[in-house]
Symmetry: C2
Subunit: 152 residues, 2 copies
């Protein structure tokens, strides 16, 4: 049986989710603004900092960030002009460009990270029990798996 409409508890979950996502995003954007970073910029820095030699191929970075190729090109443009990232040509394949963290980029991330983590705690985890955090992890892990399995 697949009823057409959402049940009361589904409705509650969905609406609160939608509402929270929107508010959360802008709140965290504001928290990051004093560092001269957008949420997207921060994600780039994190991904690069976790990568081998702190650099990634553009296409891999785009996939990781769920960004279109052109979107990543433009976002990187900004980070390059502020000196946090640099483009490095790949010697073995001249089609590819690496996005590489500069020392300044590494430093900027180290500078912003504590506040960002505090922001995540304050906005996202505040008021949630350990069990709820656990639930969150399980739920969104299944959701993430289901979403990547259903591109249809």
């Amino acid at each position: 049986m697949t009823t057409t409409w959402l049940s009361a508890s589904e409705m509650r979950a969905w609406r609160n989710f939608i509402e929270s996502v929107s508010t959360l995003t802008t709140a965290m954007e504001n928290d990051l603004a004093p560092f001269g970073l957008t949420n997207g910029d921060y994600e780039v820095l994190v991904r690069l900092s976790e990568a081998e030699s702190e650099r990634l191929r553009m296409c891999d970075l785009a996939t990781a960030l769920q960004l279109s190729p052109s979107g990543l090109t433009r976002r990187l443009d900004g980070l390059v002009t502020t000196g946090l990232v640099e483009r490095v040509a790949c010697p073995s394949d001249r089609r590819v460009m690496f996005a590489a963290l500069t020392p300044a980029g590494h430093a900027k991330l180290a500078e912003a990270a504590p506040d960002h983590v505090a922001s995540v705690r304050k906005r996202f985890f505040k008021g949630l029990s350990h069990e709820q955090v656990q639930s969150l992890g399980e739920i969104f892990e299944t959701m993430r798996a289901n979403l990547t399995a259903c591109p249809s």
Copy 2:
């Protein structure tokens, strides 16, 4: 004690959440595209359909949608040109404009709603137990409350 970094389970929750939100949004955008609607358009139609006389003042609608005044003006422009919504002047206060659902808008929502609900089920709720749905509701209700309480 407030440790600086995120615990393993927090990290799992946060990352899967971020990833899911991004994928979910674009997936649902695609699901709605055949109807000639964006996610934002759909939200407008829903809010209006639930309102008294199927109309709302622009500022109230903007607040409900977490949209800036200018953002709402532009979004409504689109819906007005496609004939789903109309602007109605308020006789008692000539500053305000109502956004009102047209019959076409009402029909469009009725047409798109079943598919949209199916989309929510398929993308969001699929694979989740009743308990997990319940948890989701509780978690994001607290989060939503916490977020609106902390504009700082």
